[in-house]
Amino acid sequence: MDRIPILKLGDCLLVTIQVDMHDQLAITLQEDLTTQIAKNASKGVLIDISSLEIVDSFIGRMLANIAAMSRVLDAQTVLTGMQPAVAITLVELGMSLPGIKTALNVERGMELLQEYIGRDTEPEETDAPEA
């Protein structure tokens, strides 16, 4: 059975999706990733989708699930490399992937992850306004 490889890089996991995924492959990736996060006590997950030519509602849902599951397992997820045409289509489709952090490329995504892990805080957290 085919699988998308997951690379371990320090306390992070790196996934590069380079094939046109059928639905089962996406589900397998979701399961493999959560298993690996727990096994390695990973703090960050970086998913690079620069070779993905489309993200439909199924793959979008899978990405949102991965981010949510990672969060529950105390890891942060960053999605990198989305092609502009994919971004336009995704928003028009009605998915804006709320709650998923993004970066333009893997390098910036890694920096972002390291920053979050270093700070050990929620990325979207800001100081509460004074009452």
Partner: protein
């Protein structure tokens, strides 16, 4: 130039992937812009998945259509599954009976120029979409 009409079977889960690749090839042969290609391929993915998952399999018919000097691609997804009980509900975003986000029908409608759906309980569903260049 691709042939004018082709019927494509959607019987297995990887047929959804093949349908996407097929529509990608046609839309790039017709020199659709990258954004238009991406929109049509994404709509194909949503509808082919519906045909497979909800309709129990069926066909996709691809046609090249012309309107004066304008060229477009029309895709018709047909299944003989259970049909859609409440079409208004299904067309509203966010309604899902399956594993998706419920954006399949409403979302793909936004990605194309023309969208027609016919469904009858117990008889099946036919969705036809057209994207003009």
């Amino acid at each position: 130039m691709p042939p004018k009409l082709e019927v494509f079977s959607i019987a297995r889960t990887d047929d959804v992937v093949r349908a996407r690749q097929f529509v990608r090839k046609w839309s790039s042969d017709l020199k659709f812009s990258l954004v238009d290609q991406t929109k049509l391929v994404t709509a194909t993915s949503e509808l082919a998945r519906n045909t497979f998952q909800h309709g129990g399999g069926g066909t996709m018919t691809a046609e090249i259509v012309e309107n004066g000097a304008r060229q477009g691609i029309r895709l018709t997804f047909e299944d003989h599954g259970p049909g859609i009980q409440d079409i208004e509900l299904a067309m509203r975003g966010g309604f899902s009976t399956g594993k998706g986000m419920g954006l399949g029908l409403s979302g793909s409608k936004r990605l194309v120029n023309e969208f027609n759906i016919k469904t009858e309980a117990g008889r099946g569903t036919t969705v036809s979409i057209t994207r003009w260049k």
